[in-house]
């Protein structure tokens, strides 16, 4: 439970923006906005949703990634780092393209 709360705190910005934009779009208040702003709101919603989705996938499917490499360290986690970056890029792009 603590771990889940910690992860939610890490993505709080996307969590809040997702909730706000869902409320805006779901309630119909978006009709009060100019069309370009409506589109921005939709895109922001999709990107936030994509980021959270990618984050959950990464936490469940991949081991933790060491983002800083220590001097003289024999370990090279660059492949895993690139895999994680790729995962986020692909999922967010897929969500964003959908709208």
């Amino acid at each position: 439970m603590e771990n889940i709360l910690f992860q939610i705190r890490r993505v709080w910005l996307d969590f809040v923006s997702f909730a706000c934009f869902m409320l805006l779009l779901g309630s119909g208040w978006y009709k009060e906005l100019e069309p370009p702003i409506q589109l921005v709101a939709l895109k922001a919603l999709l990107v936030s949703a994509g980021f959270m989705h990618a984050h959950i996938m990464r936490k469940m499917a991949f081991p933790s990634v060491e983002w800083t490499t220590k001097k003289n360290s024999q370990e090279d986690g660059s492949q895993l780092r690139w895999l994680v970056i790729g995962l986020y890029l692909i999922v967010i792009y897929a969500y964003a393209k959908g709208g």
Partner: protein, 209 residues
């Protein structure tokens, strides 16, 4: 614990998959027409651009139907009447729209043609006295002048009545075929509706007819 959640997510996702019913041997497999595939690649751009000008409620699928009606979704085509590209912009209309948009967009580039299409449709729609989309699409095809005259003569915004009052010319093509511009214009809105409906993803509060 992590493995449990991973398996649970996989099971949940697999529940979203629906097994395809087996195709009976006697039924031939009908390939998807090439034109449908061509139009499919422009769906997302059309949706984004039409949302940008009209809002999220707009039935963007008619924009795709319009591209199919105009050019069969072929970006490089030039028509006999000099219509250019995906949205079949005339050279003078391209110049006019570029002046209004303050840009130099190329009607032969699909993403730019779609931007011009959405912009021009939005501009045309502002002159639509009844807000029914069929009128705006017909204005895109043949301008507001004739439509307004036909509306005045018909006395009502009724497509059939206005069609009866249509007095546009019939042109003779090089092939010997005649082209009745009344038929062209009044069938245009029907084509946009029929072609576009195939791409509909839901309902819209916008009125087409």
């Amino acid at each position: 614990m992590r493995k449990f959640w991973f398996v649970a997510v996989l099971i949940a996702l697999s529940g979203c998959l629906r097994p395809h019913p087996p195709v009976p041997a006697s039924e031939p497999v009908v390939p998807v027409p090439k034109a449908t595939n061509r139009c499919q690649e422009y769906v997302q751009d059309v949706r984004t651009e039409h949302f940008k000008y009209f809002g999220l409620d707009f039935p963007f699928w008619f924009g795709i139907g319009q591209l199919k009606a105009e050019s069969n979704c072929r970006a490089s085509v030039t028509a006999f009447d000099a219509g250019q590209g995906l949205a079949q912009f005339m050279p003078t209309t391209t110049k006019y729209v570029n002046e209004l948009m303050g840009e130099q967009l190329d009607p032969y580039l699909p993403d730019q043609a779609i931007r011009m299409q959405a912009f021009y449709m939005h501009r045309l729609h502002k002159s639509n006295w009844s807000q029914a989309l069929w009128l705006t699409y017909q204005a895109y095809n043949g301008g507001w002048g004739n439509l307004k005259a036909e509306y005045t003569r018909a006395g009502a915004t009724d497509r059939d009545s206005m069609r009866l009052e249509c007095r546009r010319k019939t042109i003779l093509l090089k092939s010997g075929r005649t082209l009745n511009l009344c038929d062209v214009n009044y069938q245009y809105s029907k084509h946009v509706y029929d072609f576009g409906s195939a791409y509909a993803t839901g309902t819209s509060p916008w009125r087409y007819w």
